[in-house]
C-alpha cells in the first residue's frame, strides 16, 4: 500500500513519518512515533483516552486522520511537564489522588489543559462539561474535578 509522508510538530519538536492513507493519528503517534501517551480504548470516539490537542483544540486521535495533521501542532500528555517540573495540572492530579489505574489520565489531563488554556477560572460545571467526553471506569471523577479546580486556582495555571 502506498505510504504518504506527513509532518507535524509534536510536543514542540518537528516530526515526520509515513502513513497509510486511512491511518488515524492515534496509531501514527503510538506505533509510528513512539508517543504512548494517547491510548486505545474504543476506536469509536466514545471514551476519550486518546485525546490530544491539535492546534490547541482537543481532538480524539482515533477519529483523526494522520494526514489531516500535516503542518499542525499536536500536543499530548507526554509534553506537559516543563523538563523535570510537573505542569500544575499534573501536580494537582497527584495531590488530589486523581488517578487510579492511570489509563484515562493522559486524556483527562489533555482535556483539562484545553479547558484551562481557554478558561483559566472555570466553574465546577464547566470542568464537568470539559471532561464529559473522558471516561474513567475506576469512577474517580470527584478527585479529578477537584484537581482541575485546584490547578485553575494555582498561580501557574495560566501557563497551560
Amino acid at each position: 500500500m502506498a505510504k504518504h509522508p506527513v509532518q507535524f510538530r509534536l510536543n514542540g519538536s518537528d516530526r515526520a513519518t509515513f502513513v497509510d492513507g486511512a491511518e488515524n493519528l492515534l496509531n501514527t503517534l503510538r506505533r509510528g512515533l513512539g508517543d504512548f501517551a494517547p491510548k486505545y480504548g474504543c476506536g469509536q470516539g466514545t471514551c476519550g483516552v486518546c485525546t490530544v490537542l491539535v492546534d490547541g483544540e482537543p481532538h480524539l486521535s482515533c477519529l483523526t486522520l494522520a494526514v489531516a495533521c500535516e503542518g499542525r501542532h499536536v500536543e499530548t500528555a507526554s509534553g506537559m511537564a516543563d523538563g523535570p517540573d510537573f505542569h500544575p495540572l499534573q501536580a494537582a492530579f497527584m495531590d488530589h489522588f486523581a488517578a487510579q489505574c492511570g489509563f484515562c489520565t493522559p486524556g483527562m489531563l489533555t482535556a483539562a489543559r484545553a479547558l484551562l488554556a481557554k478558561n483559566p477560572n472555570p466553574t465546577r460545571d464547566e470542568v464537568v462539561e470539559a471532561i464529559s467526553g473522558n471516561i474513567c471506569r475506576c469512577t474517580g471523577y470527584e478527585p479529578i474535578i477537584a484537581a482541575i479546580l485546584a490547578a485553575a486556582g494555582s498561580s501557574g495555571a495560566r501557563r497551560a
Binding site: R31, F36, G41, A77, M94, A99, F103, C136, R137
Partner: protein, 582 residues
C-alpha cells in the same frame, strides 16, 4: 473527608498506626500523570504482527468443517491457527490448583458453546490485513439447540452445553452437583415460624468494561525465551495457564505486567496470552493480540448472572429463625472461576446475621452464554443483594423498621456461624447505628444500646445445633436429589464424608509436560466401583448419563471427625479459598 471512629473497638487494636489516616503519595502516580506509565500495549517492537480471531456467530453449534485455505493465502497473512495447533487445547483456569476438569478449548474444535467463542486465529502484518483475512475463513456449522436459563439447563433433557459436564452443572470433587450448607433444621423452624417470607432474585451479567481492553504482546527474546507484555491481573496465574496450554516450561516465559488499565476481575482469564505467545513461537516474530472494544464488550467474560431464592422463617418480634437459600450461578459455557464463586456464595450465607437454622444449595449451571468470571466480590455480591433486599421484605412483613430488624438479627462476637466458626470482630450493629445516625434515621433506645461485643454466643447462639443432613446433590444418586432428610447429626458435630484423595498433578516446575491427568484417584476399593463418567465423549443425548444406580451406601456418620478423615476436598482446597484456617 476520612473520619476515623477510634471510639469503636478501641480495645481490639493497637493504636500505633503509622500510615492509616495520613496522606501518602502512591509510587505509580508520577508515571500516571506524566504518561510514562507503560501499559501492556505501550511497547514498540520492530516487525510486530497482529493476531485476530474468528469467532462463532452461533450460541451453540457443531463445527462440521473449517476451511482456512483462502485466509492463509490472503495478503500479509503469516499464519492461520486452528485448535490442532494449540499444544494442550483444553484447560480450566483452576487446574493450576487441581480444582475442576479441563473443559475449555483455546480454539474450538468440534463445537462452539457460546456466541463469540474463538475458532480460528489469524496472524498478519497489519491489523487491517488480519481483519480482511478473517472474512475469508469458511466455517460450516450445524446449529444446535441452545439453553440460556440456569434452571432450564438443569432440567432433564436440556441441551448439553459443555460435554465435560454433561449434567450442565459443575461437579464438586467429582461427587456433588452443588455446594451445600446445613445448620440446624430449617424445615422444622419454618413449620413453627409465625411467617414465612419467600422471594426470587435475579442479577444480570455485568461487563467489567475496562477502558484498556484485554490484550498481550509476546515476542521472542534471547535465551530461547518469550517476553510477554500482559494485561493480566494475576500475572503468575496467567504465566502458569500459558505454560500449560502451550506445553512450555514456565521459565521460558518472561511475563511483564502488573500495570493494568482497569481490570475489576475481567483480566484474570488469560483470554489473549496463550495465543499471542503461540503466535510468537510459530512465526518467530513479536505478536500483538488485543481485543477491540466490541470484542471486549461481547466476549470478554462478565460477572456471572445469578438467580437466588431466599426463604425466611420469621417470628412476630422480627427474629429470623430459619433461612434457606437456593441459588443458581450462571457459569456460561465454561467453568473458569464460577466453581469458586459458588463456594464464596455458600461461605457468605446467611449474611452477617445470627440465624439458628440455615441451609443452602448453590448450583453452578452451564448455559450457552459467554463464560463468566471474577468481578469485585463475585459470588458474594449477588447473594448479598438478595439477602439485604430480602431483609427489607421481612421487615415489611413483620411491620418493623428495617434498621431495627438488622440490629435485632445481627451476629455478635461469640455467635456460632452456620459454617461452624465462631464469629469474631463483628461490627454490623455499629455500622447500622452509624449509618442511621448519618442518615438522620431514628432508632429506638434499645437498638441504640446494642453492641457487637456483648451477649454474643450466649446459650444456643454459641452452639452448633442438631443438624439435619440429606443426600441431595450427590452425583450418581438422582433419585435422592429431591428426597427428604435422611439423617440428623448430634449437636456440635460435623460430618465430613470420606472421599477420594486428590492427587497432585505432578511436575509443574517446567520439566514434565502438563497433561490432562485425572484429578482424583479412583474410588477406594471398599466402595462399589463407579461407572466411568463419559466426560469427553460427545453426548448429544439428554443429561444424566453419568448417573449410576443408587447403590453405594451412605457413608456412616462419623461421631467426631478425626484428622485422617478431614482430607475431603472441601477442606484440602480451602486454604486457597480461605474458609478454613487453623
Amino acid at each position: 473527608m476520612l473520619e476515623m471512629r477510634k471510639d469503636l473497638f478501641a480495645d481490639e487494636r493497637d493504636d500505633n498506626l503509622n500510615e492509616v489516616g495520613k496522606g501518602s503519595q502512591r509510587q505509580d502516580m508520577p508515571g500516571h500523570v506524566t504518561a510514562r506509565t507503560r501499559f501492556f500495549d505501550d511497547h514498540a517492537f520492530d516487525g510486530l504482527l497482529h493476531l485476530k480471531v474468528v469467532r462463532s456467530p452461533h450460541a451453540h453449534a457443531r463445527i462440521r468443517s473449517i476451511d482456512i485455505a483462502a485466509a492463509a493465502r490472503a495478503p500479509g497473512v503469516k499464519r492461520v491457527l486452528r485448535g490442532a495447533d494449540v499444544p494442550v487445547n483444553k484447560n480450566t483456569l483452576l487446574s493450576l490448583i487441581n480444582f475442576g476438569k479441563d473443559d475449555e478449548p483455546t480454539l474450538a474444535v468440534s463445537k462452539v458453546c457460546y456466541k463469540g467463542e474463538p475458532v480460528v486465529a489469524i496472524i498478519a502484518d497489519t491489523e487491517a490485513q488480519a481483519h480482511a483475512a478473517r472474512k475469508l475463513v469458511r466455517v460450516e456449522y450445524e446449529p444446535l439447540k441452545p439453553v440460556f436459563d440456569v434452571e432450564e439447563a438443569l432440567k432433564p433433557g436440556a441441551p448439553v452445553v459443555n460435554e465435560t459436564y454433561p449434567g450442565n452443572y459443575f461437579e464438586y470433587h467429582e461427587r456433588f452437583d452443588h455446594q451445600k450448607l446445613r445448620f440446624g433444621d430449617v424445615d422444622a423452624a419454618f413449620a413453627r415460624a409465625d411467617q414465612v417470607v419467600e422471594a426470587r432474585y435475579q442479577m444480570s451479567p455485568i461487563e467489567h468494561a475496562p477502558t484498556e481492553t484485554n490484550g498481550t504482546i509476546a515476542a521472542p527474546e534471547h535465551n530461547d525465551r518469550y517476553v510477554v507484555h500482559s494485561c493480566a491481573q494475576g500475572l503468575f496465574f496467567s504465566l502458569g495457564t500459558t505454560a500449560k496450554i502451550l506445553n512450555l516450561e514456565s521459565n521460558r516465559l518472561h511475563f511483564i505486567g502488573g500495570t493494568v488499565g482497569g481490570g475489576f476481575g475481567g483480566k484474570v482469564d488469560s483470554l489473549t496470552e496463550p495465543l499471542a505467545v503461540l503466535g510468537a513461537m510459530l512465526t518467530g516474530r513479536p505478536v500483538r493480540y488485543v481485543l477491540d472494544r466490541e470484542e471486549e464488550m461481547l466476549t470478554g467474560s462478565p460477572r456471572g448472572a445469578e438467580r437466588i431464592y431466599v426463604k425466611d422463617g420469621v417470628m412476630r418480634d422480627g427474629r429470623i429463625v430459619a433461612r434457606h437459600i437456593r441459588s443458581y450461578f450462571d457459569a456460561g459455557a465454561y467453568t473458569r472461576l464460577s466453581s469458586y464463586a459458588a463456594i464464596k456464595c455458600t461461605a457468605h450465607i446467611p449474611g452477617p446475621y445470627s440465624i439458628p437454622n440455615v441451609s443452602s444449595d448453590v448450583y453452578v449451571a452451564y448455559t450457552n452464554r459467554c463464560p463468566s468470571t471474577a468481578m469485585r466480590g463475585f459470588g458474594v455480591t449477588a447473594v448479598d443483594f438478595a439477602i439485604e433486599v430480602h431483609m427489607d421484605r421481612v421487615a415489611e412483613a413483620v411491620n418493623m423498621d428495617p434498621m431495627e430488624l438488622r440490629i435485632l438479627n445481627a451476629y455478635r462476637d461469640g455467635d456460632m456461624k452456620a459454617h461452624r466458626r465462631v464469629a469474631k470482630n463483628t461490627a454490623l450493629i455499629e455500622c447500622v447505628q452509624v449509618a442511621a445516625e448519618k442518615a438522620g434515621w431514628p432508632l429506638s433506645d434499645t437498638a441504640r444500646r446494642q453492641t457487637s461485643v456483648a451477649s454474643g454466643g450466649a446459650g444456643e447462639r454459641g452452639q452448633i445445633p442438631a443438624t439435619v443432613i440429606d443426600q441431595r446433590g450427590q452425583i450418581g444418586r438422582p433419585d435422592t436429589r429431591t428426597g427428604g432428610p435422611t439423617q440428623t447429626l448430634p449437636a456440635g458435630t460435623t460430618r465430613i464424608a470420606l472421599s477420594k484423595e486428590p492427587v497432585m498433578e505432578g511436575a509443574r516446575d517446567g520439566r514434565a509436560a502438563p497433561t490432562q491427568v485425572p484429578r482424583y484417584e479412583p474410588a477406594p476399593r471398599h466402595e462399589p466401583a463407579r461407572a466411568q463418567p463419559p466426560a469427553y465423549a460427545p453426548q448429544p443425548a439428554p443429561p444424566a448419563p453419568s448417573y449410576q444406580p443408587a447403590s453405594p451406601p451412605p457413608a456412616p456418620p462419623a461421631p467426631a471427625p478425626s484428622p485422617a478423615h478431614t482430607q475431603h476436598g472441601a477442606v484440602r482446597f480451602s486454604s486457597v479459598f480461605g474458609t478454613r484456617r487453623r
